[in-house]
């Protein structure tokens, strides 16, 4: 086994989720990531914890979704019971065919997502980590060779997360006490929102591996302006390109996309919260140096910001603030590398992808 796989497993179990003796652990992975699943079982056993191994299989998921009537889709209460009795959830993503579920009806998918929401609530209340294993099909999605993609993934994951935490803390110090954020990129993105009373989280590889962003939640009705999400957006096996959203009083009042606009519409119509922002994130992982059509990596790039429609993470929402509720959480990215800036309370903190506290920042 590639020694980087065992290193990856150790980071998940120790740094990301702090697995301890006596913990009940769920390991969820597709079969193409079996090597990492094996290394995780070894690491979990070594720490005296007890694993259950869930298969994550896009062919099986598709077969179920194509066969079931929408009105029969129910919350998997047995899965919920499993999660409730667990301490840590380790979820490995990897592709065998990234477009496997591309012919599932978006409405069915949306009904399914809604039905699973109570399960998702339980999952988010546990120690959890979502990570990526580099399969050939994942490499193909990124347009890379398998070996090149392996290097990319493990360079971004098997790193010094304490140093990364310190780098990001400087941005947290700016964003956490802030009120108004103004983001502008070219002629297509010009949006303002308040983060007053919200908390900014430093993501250094705990819930997401790789980590490498700071993120917070907009005040629900404060978002005003328009955004063109000009970077790859893959959802349910389909690529939405050129997604454009116009916000008024925090709500999406106009939307369009160059490709798969119907899917975007479906997502926005999932529930009330699906047409409002739940997250503003700022990518800060400089080891991620290219887009790979994988949000787990793309949103962490150093010269991007991302906004998610749908659910806000509880720990980003201030005690006296409303948390946006939704069954969906869809991240979308804006390229900030050229002709762009982020202003916080009237002061420019990032220009053309460089942060105020980094070399190369232009006043």
């Amino acid at each position: 086994m590639d020694p980087r796989i065992r290193e990856h497993a150790e980071i998940i179990v120790d740094h990301s989720t702090d697995v301890q003796q006596g913990d009940n652990v769920v390991i969820s992975a597709p079969s193409v990531a079996e090597d990492l699943a094996v290394a995780l079982h070894e690491a979990v056993g070594d720490r005296g914890a007890t694993p259950v191994y869930l298969a994550s299989d896009s062919r099986a998921g598709r077969a179920y979704l194509k066969a079931i009537d929408d009105e029969d889709i129910e919350t998997p209460t047995h899965l919920q019971a499993l999660y409730e009795e667990s301490d840590a959830l380790l979820r490995v993503r990897s592709e065998t065919n990234a477009t496997e579920q591309g012919d599932v009806d978006p409405e069915t998918q949306s009904t399914y997502t809604k039905a699973r929401r109570p399960v998702q609530e339980v999952a988010l209340s546990k120690r959890w980590c979502l990570t990526q294993f580099p399969s050939p099909a994942s490499a193909q999605l990124a347009g890379m060779s398998t070996e090149g993609y392996e290097n990319f993934v493990w360079d971004a994951i098997n790193k010094d997360w304490d140093a990364q935490r310190e780098h990001q803390a400087r941005m947290v110090d700016i964003l956490d006490p802030a009120d108004e954020i103004h983001i502008k990129s070219g002629d297509t993105t010009d949006v303002r929102m308040s983060v007053d009373g919200m908390h900014t989280i430093n993501d250094y590889g705990e819930n997401n591996l790789p980590g490498g962003e700071v993120f917070t939640a907009p005040v629900v009705d404060s978002v005003e302006g328009e955004v063109l999400f000009d970077k790859p957006l893959y959802h349910q096996g389909r690529e939405i390109t050129g997604a454009h959203l116009v916000f008024e009083d925090g709500e999406v009042v106009e939307h369009s996309a160059d490709q798969h606009e119907d899917l975007l519409t479906e997502v926005l119509n999932t529930d009330d919260g699906a047409s409002r922002l739940g997250e503003l994130g700022i990518g800060m992982n400089r080891d991620i140096d290219r887009f790979t059509y994988n949000m787990l990596f793309d949103e962490k790039m150093g010269d991007t910001v991302h906004m998610a429609i749908g659910r806000a993470y509880d720990d980003t929402v201030g005690e006296d603030r409303e948390a946006n509720q939704s069954a969906v959480h869809l991240d979308m990215i804006v390229d900030m590398s050229e002709d762009s800036f982020i202003e916080v309370d009237g002061e420019v903190v990032q220009r053309d992808g460089r942060f105020r506290f980094e070399d190369g920042f232009e006043e």
Copy 2:
């Protein structure tokens, strides 16, 4: 997909476990059996039920068992919670490497089996089916080509189970009201036991697929004599050959084996019930015409009997009878094709592999 896979899935879901709209279903399968898992998800979705997909992975299981200290092995209470909230458990076995767990310490394996016993109790209280998918390594274990083994498996499984039920009912009618059973084969097996007050079950492909046996439980302290189990016995990735047991007052007082006697000893020492018989079974599936080193098939052959040390199945034990309790249930087979007979209350009901109600039976 081979159409026999969908047929197999339909039999599991309809005939074996009667999956209904609203059921919570657990599908457990190794990745090499993905095609059947996909067909099961389709069948389960089609009936309006909700699946959870558990990976069954011998490499991952081995990694955990090699890494954990025996004293840290605990009951997976999260898995137990999953099962408790389920209606039907569909378990697919298939091999990628049948000897994958051959280097796990038998004592560790035994501790693990004991820790999982409460989970097993819950599983047995549900509608459940254990079946086999024909992988290349499973074919190798049987000493067959992959295609030859596929034909063997699906011939034994995709069949008319109503006709099989009727064939077996004739043996149930003999065994159910009986008291003393006497089994003799050559000079090496000569054993007597009472089944007075016990129930005989007709296995026609519900809990086991293939089915094809009738089975009951011996009165716990009634077993007297000796048995040489002269047919293949695979346990925890190791083959035990020439297992020989001597019973007094129902208990194993002497044992030996030509190969892996240590493993046999370990199993017998698991707990009190592990050195007593929990099952007497009579194979009756004439479509299974060869040994394949797989108990699910071997024990169903028409000219064999099998006895299991350990746990008795609840539904075989009469209301006023003691049920043998144990964390183990290990089936072992006696060849009855030559120089052999089964006597029930003094009357020969099988001689040299032919039943009294079959053509070719010699009075």
